[in-house]
Amino acid sequence: MLQYALKRSVLALLVALTVSLVCFLLVNLSTDVATAMAGEGATAEAIDSIRKQYGFDRPLVVRYFDWLGHAAMGNFGDSLYFRTPVSALVAERMPTTMILGTAAIAFALLLSIPLGVLAALKPNSWVDRLTLTIAVIGQAMPTFWFALLLMFLFGVTLKVLPISGSDTWQHFILPSIALGYYATPAIMRLTRSGMLEVLESDYIRTARAKGLRNASVLFKHALRNAVAPVVALAAVQLGFLLGGSVVIETVFALNGLGYLAWEAIVHNDFPVVQAVVLLISLVYIVLTLLSDVANAWLDPRIRIG
């Protein structure tokens, strides 16, 4: 087990390093940073002085390791647009996105696990069809459009929830639903198919045969086994949701990492863009690492095979 966890951690570290290289190259190969920073109509001397001042005249490799070394110690330089250290900006915005992501995945799980279980208990019933419909529509719905519809319905027509800003917990309800709905189809389908498979297995038949109550068979035996892969998927989905938060946070003017990323992209704020892309990737890498290790701990077949 320890050996598996170690091997998996080394892989995660390698992936993290590669991702950091991609983040760095993404910005530095897509554009000439000094020219973009100088702005339109800047003279060649102005561009040159910026190049010297920020050290952009050094070779790319040197600059990468310089950036990486500082980043590893939490120093991402100063924001060009906000004029404050990037790390402070990120630390300020991070909690909002974490709350949003957690609430969104909680909403997704609360909606999809019960529906997935009910659908598996009665295949082809109306619950099953409803579940399938929610899943199919969820996969085809543009997230930002769904967010605008929620805004219109609950914020404007019913006037029960705030639609913009991040001051109170009520501000997080609509964004969490909009973002979480995006993760429901996958979780719902996996719960349903996992539950169907488990319900047909021998140990469920044995549990029923020895006369256990239906509820006890369902919750103690079936659900526990069906839910393990769902938890792993939820961890991965949470990573995806954080990446997708840029859309939802922009719609609801929620002051988190995604909104920060959008502001930074629009204002050519390279240090912030690099930091946010790297950070969201790192969260994803850690989440998948944890879910893999947890899965291996629960299921010996994974760590041996």
Binding site: V22, S30, T31, A36, A140, F144, V246, V247, V276, I280
Partner: protein, 303 residues
């Protein structure tokens, strides 16, 4: 001798008695409502895109500030001159929705081609050769999955300059992962089957085994992923355009139309509901078609 002939006769008779594989496939397609509906709606949208110049009542870019924000025909103030109303610049909304289908389909199809070729090559190569090649490709998939697609696409498009072709290129270079994952495992299942071993045994060159034996046998997986990924690419373009970093004005991209109408949505909600419904209908149709093709071709769907 006569016994032998009798057996031969029953074998021949039986092979003619049941429906042919092609007939079975056609029956499964006819019995699958989702697939039929999806194919029908997609066909209609494709037709709409090709016939846009004849279908659209007006020029989708022509502005008329005297005719701003006219509501659609089902409102009291609606008029048949603009069946879906006009936007804040007085452009005919029906014409813009019709022309918008061209952008969504172009993006979906082009991204599918680029990412499909990259993803299929990586997946088949990894699955067929295994070993270190497989490790390298798996590593590449892990790295790719760790990067948030929307953020990376936004960043690149913003830095390089946003245009329709830039969006296509960036999404095409980013969205190959699912093809690779699916085709890698499909190829692993095929590579040691008898007909592949046989081709190897008679000295068939590797590229011919891959193109002639492996590819045709994983192609149903490829078609399913390609369909679903096309829907996902269309949604991504809409999101990028909605954030102002995808297709640029005045092109009538559905995502961009929603973005432009955002500040008018409280008094003129149809401006966001109509292009949103168009997106939903198109992607829903594509997904139903993809799911349907999977049900019809996958053995486990043949109950």
């Amino acid at each position: 001798m006569s016994n032998h002939a009798a057996i031969l006769e029953t074998v021949v008779a039986e092979s003619f008695a049941g429906p042919s594989p092609g007939e079975l496939l056609r029956r499964r397609i006819r019995g699958h409502a989702g697939l039929l509906i999806g194919a029908l709606v997609l066909a209609l949208v494709v037709l709409m895109a090709f016939a846009a110049p004849w279908l659209a009542p007006q020029d989708p870019l022509a502005q008329d500030l005297a005719q701003r924000l006219i509501p659609p025909i089902w409102h009291e103030q609606g008029s048949w001159a603009h069946p879906l109303g006009t936007d804040m610049l007085g452009r005919d909304y029906l014409s813009r929705v019709i022309y918008g289908s061209r952008i969504s389909l172009l993006i979906g199809f082009s991204v599918m081609l680029i990412s499909g070729v990259i993803g299929a090559v990586l997946g088949i190569v990894a699955g067929y050769f295994g070993g270190r090649t497989d490790l390298a490709v798996t590593y590449l998939i892990t790295v790719r999955l760790s990067l948030p697609v929307i953020l990376v696409a936004l960043t690149t498009v913003a830095l390089v300059g946003s245009s329709l072709w830039m969006v296509i290129l960036v999404l095409g270079l980013l969205k190959w992962d699912r093809y690779t994952v699916v085709l890698r495992s499909a190829t692993q299942q095929v590579r040691n089957l008898d007909y592949v071993t046989a081709a190897r045994a008679i000295g068939c060159p590797t590229w011919r085994i891959i193109l002639g034996e492996v590819l045709p046998n994983v192609s149903s997986h490829l078609i399913v992923v390609a369909t679903l990924e096309m829907g996902s690419a269309i949604l991504l373009e809409a999101a990028l355009s909605f954030l102002g970093l995808g297709v640029q004005p005045p092109l009538p991209s559905w995502g961009l139309m929603i973005s432009e109408a955002k500040s008018y949505m409280f008094f003129s909600p149809w401006l966001i509901t109509i292009p949103g419904l168009a997106l939903l209908a198109l992607v829903l149709a594509i997904n139903l078609l993809g799911d349907g093709v999977r049900d019809v071709t996958a053995p486990e769907g043949r109950s």
